[in-house]
């Protein structure tokens, strides 16, 4: 057991729960009469309440973005590389809010929560939730915390999409928007991968059309498979080659060997899959991938991202990674070009990185350098 957290960590943090009894009208037309959001905060809100940063999580993320829940934790929060004292999102300067989105499975109201109408878990009856619903619920959380205007809303991947949605839905409540490894909408290829992931879950006999909780079962194999597919899209060809190559974990490729050999990459993916299926809810995974599929910043704006961004009044930082093929640099440039055409202040950096989409979570020196330079500016503006 460690006796203390590292110096550049926010240390031990405790998740909090905010309860909302004002009904939330969702974009699907249904209403949630009440709901809870799990969140964490790091740093101190200043007297003028203008140093608050909202962190939006990606597909499988949650509120635990930085620090440790206990000294026994093996790993810190998912974005600990970027959040903490002296890090780009500097907790000596900023008050950081990180939540688990509505529909999640880490403490916020979602498919595995109890439906107050039936006393049973929501399961597949939980209403579909879209990015704009998340942003609305995040705005309610801001009200709850007494934050009128975020110094910045920041997110990578699906989190970056929420940040962009913030910029056009609540222009008066956000001063800076940081969009990392994201896109204006999913491509056909992105949609295809999400569909395969959902099919993997839905075809698991333990899924029971989503009612697995009432059957006391878990579609662990389907969920693991979905994660394995997703995980491949987070890594680059190069990153996989460097990490595993064709190394064998067991068996041999020599003549006269009948038993199948096992490659390292196989066992890695299986490990990732089984780890994930023990910690994540299948209905939430389906809900999150659908939210990702349906996200289209231009939908209410004649498919024109320029006219969408004309509603924004904040400044933007957009970052992409050279080997990211899930949301490639080209997708980020589409965001940047629309912002330029809409005459919004924007900076853009394309980071040379080997790690693919996952790069946004990793301590790549130039990435941290650019991010840090921009956050200094956010700090000066607050």
């Amino acid at each position: 057991m460690n006796t203390s957290a590292p110096d550049d960590s926010v240390g031990i943090v405790t998740p909090l729960l905010a309860r909302f009894d004002e009904p939330l009208l969702l974009s699907c037309g249904r209403e949630l009469s009440s709901y809870e959001l799990a969140y964490e905060t790091y740093g101190e809100l200043n007297a003028r309440r203008n140093n608050a940063i909202l962190i939006c999580h990606a597909l499988s993320g949650h509120h635990h973005a930085a620090g440790y829940h206990s000294l026994d934790d093996k790993k810190p929060g998912w974005w600990d590389e970027c959040i903490g004292p002296g890090k780009p999102i500097d907790t000596k300067r900023f008050f950081v809010v990180s939540l688990n989105n509505l529909g999640g499975c880490h403490g916020s109201t979602g498919p595995s929560s109890i439906n107050p109408g039936t006393g049973q878990p929501w399961g597949p009856d939980f209403p579909p939730v879209r990015t704009r619903d998340w942003v609305l619920s995040q705005a309610r959380l801001a009200d709850y915390l007494g934050i009128d205007c975020w110094a910045a809303v920041i997110g990578g991947s699906l989190g970056g999409m929420q940040a962009m949605r913030w910029s056009i839905e609540y222009p008066e409540r956000i001063k800076h928007c940081v969009v990392i490894a994201a896109a204006l909408k999913l491509s056909a290829q992105n949609l295809a991968f999400n569909e395969v992931a959902r099919q993997a879950i839905e075809s698991d006999p333990d899924f029971f059309s989503g009612s697995y909780q009432s059957h006391a079962s878990v579609p662990a194999r389907g969920l693991a498979l979905a994660r394995m597919i997703g995980h491949i899209t987070y890594l680059s060809d190069n990153a996989m080659a460097n990490k595993f190559g064709r190394d064998l974990r067991s068996g041999s490729l020599g003549r006269g060997e009948e038993a199948p050999a096992e490659f390292q990459v196989q066992s890695y993916l299986r490990h990732q899959g089984s780890q994930f299926s023990g910690n994540f809810d299948a209905n939430t995974y389906i809900l999150m991938t659908r939210a990702l599929d349906y996200f289209d910043l231009t939908l209410d704006h004649n498919n024109d991202p320029v006219s969408a961004f004309r509603n924004a009044s904040c400044s933007f930082l957009v970052i992409s990674f050279s080997t990211d093929w899930r949301f490639s640099p080209q997708r980020s440039r589409e965001i940047v070009d629309a912002l330029i055409a809409a005459d919004r202040p924007v900076s853009y950096a394309e980071i040379e990185a080997n790690e693919g989409h996952d790069a946004f979570l990793l301590p790549i020196p130039r990435y941290l350098d650019v991010f840090n330079a921009y956050m200094q500016r956010v700090g000066r503006d607050s």
């Binding site: 930082l317 853009y348 350098d369 650019v370 500016r377």
Partner: protein, 196 residues
Amino acid sequence: MRLDLSHIQRWIEPHSRVLDLGCGDGEFLQILRDQRQVRGLGLDIDRHYISAAIARGIDVIEQDMDKGLANFPDQSFDTVVLALALQAVNYPDRVLEEMLRIGREGIVTFPNFGHWRCRLMLGIQGTMPVSSFMPHTWYNTPNIHFCTVKDFEKLCLDRGIRILERNVVGNTNRPPMLSTRWPNLFATTAIYRITR
């Protein structure tokens, strides 16, 4: 501030929108912002400059001019600046055309290869010029398209580009009248304000 930049500063209208192609660390845009309340956007390909410009609070886009500027809409800026970068791009003529498509006016500065010292080195010594102003050897230089004052003005004439103003920076040890009177021979840096 670099001499060519202090010359062109007064050509930039307060509160206007300026695109600086090859903006480096953003120093010029910062001066324009602080002194002329200009809304600036920089563009550079050098990764070291990107975070330096962002740290100054200057908006900058990491982009390679040689791959085109089609992502900038027509007439979306008041002024497009290309300071000491014309000689370093693959297609200087295309960049000039693009500058005047994107901006109402363009400002171009470049080292004058017609300067008498260059001519002396090439003509008498028979070697490519190297000086404190052009410090690179011919085989290791970002400057791939040198031109003279005369060359540039001919290109403008051929392409229907109007020269609104010309300014020159000469050798500071000599009377400025020399470079003003005979720019192609005495200007070290040529400075132009152009439009369609």
